[in-house]
């Protein structure tokens, strides 16, 4: 075994990769929001209020950040039943969040702001939509964690996967807060 333990490690490589990936995803949204700023400075920009349901979805995703943090704690204490409950709740909250965003899109569409309408509306659909896909990606990751927790043949004791998942979840949460503040101020 000594052949392998000479490799020095500070932070788990998967976590490290996730930090870099978060930088990368941030750049994508910086790209979107810069495009938004540039476009907003040009003529014929139509300002409108964001759908109110976005505030509900904000509450939902904030709560889900709490539940996944509790899930990590329960996993480390090997309370597997509580852990499974908590990641299920988190994944469900993720789906509710996505549903709220879709509902928001429907509201906008009903108020004469369809996707192909004014460019200020199109931006909301694209930016919020791409963020929603990132949340759903997190939901898929949680489903995999869930399936793993039910495996009987192989038991997982490493907390790294759930830590990675929770870090990502907090990230998409923070990203949403940034987007919400940005889209509310720069209307």
């Amino acid at each position: 075994m000594q052949a392998m333990s000479v490799q020095r490690k500070k932070i788990h490589p998967h976590k490290y990769s996730l930090w870099i990936a978060m930088g990368s995803i941030s750049m994508m949204f910086i790209g979107f929001t810069s495009a938004y700023v540039v476009k907003r400075a040009q003529a014929n920009w139509l300002a409108f209020e964001l759908p109110h349901i976005f505030w509900i979805s904000t509450a939902v995703i904030l709560v889900s950040s709490g539940t996944i943090q509790m899930a990590v704690k329960q996993f480390k204490e090997r309370n597997m039943r509580r852990y499974k409950q908590l990641i299920t709740i988190t994944a469900l909250l993720g789906v509710v969040f996505a549903a709220c965003q879709c509902f928001g899109f429907a509201q906008m569409s009903n108020h004469g702001l369809p996707l192909s309408g004014p460019v200020s509306a199109s931006f909301i659909y694209v930016i919020v939509g791409v963020h929603m896909l990132h949340v759903l990606g997190g939901v898929v990751a949680l489903l995999i964690m869930f399936a793993r927790a039910y495996r009987t043949r192989v038991r997982v004791y490493s907390p790294v996967p759930i830590e990675v998942a929770s870090l990502y979840w907090h990230f998409v949460d923070a990203l949403w807060i940034y987007l919400l503040i940005f889209l509310s101020i720069a209307r």
Binding site: M1, S17, A21, S24, G31, A35, A43, P118, V119, V126
Partner: protein, 608 residues
Amino acid sequence: MSNDATLHSHQQELTHGAVAHDDHGNGHEHHHEDSFISKYVFSMDHKMIAKQFLITGIIWAIIGAGFSVIFRLQLAFPDTAFPWLETILGHWAKGGRITPEAYYALVTMHGTILVFFVLTAGLSGTFSNLLIPLQVGARDMASPFMNMLSYWFFFLASMVMMASLFVQTGPASGGWTAYPPLSALGDASIGSRIGMDLWLTSMALFVVSQLLGGLNYISTILNMRTKGMSMTRMPLPIWSFFFTAVLGVLSFPVLLSGFILLLFDRHAGTSFYLSELFVAGKALSNEGGSAILYQHLFWFLGHPEVYIIILPAMGMVSEVLAVNSRKPIFGYLAMVGSLFAIAILAFLVWAHHMFVTGLNPFLGAFFVLLTLLIAVPSAIKVFNWITTIWKGNIRFTPGALFSIGFVSTFISGGLTGIWLGNSSIDIHLHDTYFVIAHFHIVMGVSAFFGMFAGIYHWFPKMYSRYMNNTLGYIHFWITLVGAYCIFWPMHYEGMAGMPRRYYDYSSWESFKQFVELNKFISIVVVAVFATQLLFVFNFFYSIFKGRKLTTTNPWNATTLEWTTPIHPGHGNWPGEIPEVHRWPYDYSKDGKDFIPQTVPVSPDESKH
């Protein structure tokens, strides 16, 4: 549950198949035999993935360069029919002359293939994969699985792009930059139809591949270095791959957001890039979009992209020059610092591609200043390469020759960058052959030279055989002389105002003077292309029949990759990973020809 044990089990995964596992219960040395599929196809060994990137890149290079041969024939002989063209291109070359649509498709695909598929994936994909674990002393990448996915996303992107070459309306043909409105309106040209959709799909897959690869490169370099391998003891190629990966990870996502908005404009009726337009006499419903917005998003990637292409070449050239002149690299920290400076400046100069878009001249002045600043780190690097080989005991291997050729083309192509970086001159030279000459020499030819240097130098590590030297020398001299013969005259054409991307210059009074010059260029293109085929032959022939490697360290180099066995397995070192005690450039020190990094510093040794 200690964290140590977690990491431990992870390492076991990493070294799967290469090291004895003590949890099998039988205790003896145990090797997993890889099946054909897991060894050659869905391999997680970074060395095999490197080869996959390289060979896919070579195939793309032949196609991309072949396209340039075909459109150069059109430029040189606009009135001559080549019946064989109709044989291979069908209705795209009716009567043996390629159609204007085919010409634009060929030009576009030549750019896309060479920039992204060959010089990005083929170059940094190959050598980052091969060299990072070997030179920092790691058994494999941080995540071998993601590394495998990176190749297979590239493969998927390749397949989609390849498919787009065969659709009835042809591949994308609005230029490799895919500017709207040509790229946003399906009715704008036949290349804007399904070909453009496939182009965007392929590029999105390509971005995913680059991100997966880049994440791994960064995390491996920062986390998986062996004992003693501090950052300042890393060989220069590793530094260059590191900055390349950082550039890619931060700029490719912005390109992706630009593409996403473009896809919405194409298919969902949005108006991000489209404003009041008439197509075939009919007014479109789009209003208020800005085509310039796309250019900003595109060039925010596009400019770092040229450094993504050139930085790995710079790093490998530094290494090959030091090894083959038996001298330490001159100014190691200055080399690292200039790579860093180039990486930072790469993000701050994108609008110099857009001086003619109506950019505010006041804003333009800043971009001119920042662009010209890049000359400083570039000049530092050139100076250091020259002082590295100065009074060296140079071994003129093909790798060394290509490295010296790299320095030559980087200087002559880089100097014209100072012209183009000035907005006042650029307004005259924009979109002329001067630009073509500039970027082909500084980024196309130079990057290829760096890549060739890397292939000749590390071929023994990849395939445990040498490439043929004589063919290598023929390859080098014809390519060097040919590259200058092709691109030098283009400067004159550009200064005379000859625009790029025209189908036929012979009908223009101002450019008739260049008819013979264009013929000359095209004939050289054919010769140089044939020489590259010679290289490809040498490459594949040497894989199977090349002279066999008999020593682990054929170039007497100091770096870790030459401490692995001649045929390294998955895991690279059969025993422990060697420990590093010194920097990688102890050549001709204290009367010794070279001191490997693994040798401890002796007390009576002189300081650097």
